[in-house]
């Protein structure tokens, strides 16, 4: 249940080690690592600038994390999101969910990423040969997030 918003890179192996340390009730950890790509919509990306809303970012990530823990029996969770200038290949985000069983870990990690994509206040500006360009939100991200609320309705 840790949330971190930072300029610096993170060490996935060390974070996993810390997450699971001493908790032998954990049977599986699902992780997602987002990386900067060098192409988007046919354009070459030299780098990207990640702007965010300090204060709200942490609050919103905590809300998403709390909702994941309400929905699934999780032993541990972790969300790290970087901001600032990032080059292709660099790590942007890490989401991890640890549970006794793998289905809960997988679903919670996927849920966290889907909601982070549509609710956490980050904005990407890509450096392309034609200049800086704000990334458009993708409708597929809204679709991905909405399937979790459908699941909830179906379960009621």
């Amino acid at each position: 249940m840790a949330i971190r918003v930072q300029l610096e890179d993170f060490d996935v192996g060390a974070e996993l080690e810390r997450l699971a340390a001493g908790n032998h009730g954990i049977g599986g950890v699902a992780l997602f690592v987002g990386l900067v790509r060098d192409m988007a919509g046919g354009e070459t990306i030299g780098a990207m600038e990640l702007e965010h809303y300090p204060g709200m970012t942490e609050t919103e990530l905590e809300r998403i994390d709390a909702e994941a823990r309400r929905r699934w029996p999780l032993e541990e969770t972790l969300i790290i999101h970087r901001h600032g200038r990032l080059e292709p290949g660099e790590r942007i985000v890490l989401a991890a969910a640890a549970s006794a069983h793998r289905q809960a870990a997988f679903e919670a990690c996927h849920f966290i990423m889907d909601f982070l994509k549509t609710r956490a206040p980050f904005w990407k500006k890509e450096e392309t040969p034609g200049g800086g360009q704000w990334v458009d939100a993708r409708s597929t991200d809204d679709t991905a997030a909405s399937r979790w609320s459908e699941k909830e309705r179906a379960a009621e």
Partner: protein, 83 residues
């Protein structure tokens, strides 16, 4: 009331934050957008396509009918693209 702007809304408005005192009849987020955008120049441009502007009041996502009060922190920004 503290106003914050992010990403291209910030670039269009030309400022990242400002302190404003809207008139008493501005009681909702929607009315605030009308009033802020009505000041002309970059502000008008920032709010010209209202469907593309998202709002948070005191760090929580809200809709245009959400009420606002003098001590609030209100932020305007495009749909988020993190992750």
């Amino acid at each position: 009331m503290k106003i914050l702007y992010f990403a291209w809304v910030r670039e269009k408005a030309g400022v990242s934050s400002e302190d404003v005192s809207p008139p008493a009849e501005v009681t909702t987020v929607g009315a605030l957008m009308d009033w802020l955008g009505g000041r002309g120049g970059g502000y008008t441009e920032a709010f010209s396509d209202r469907k593309m502007v998202r709002v948070a009041v005191n760090h929580a996502h809200v809709q245009a009918d959400h009420p606002i009060a003098p001590g609030d922190e209100v932020a305007f920004f495009p749909p988020v693209t993190g992750g």
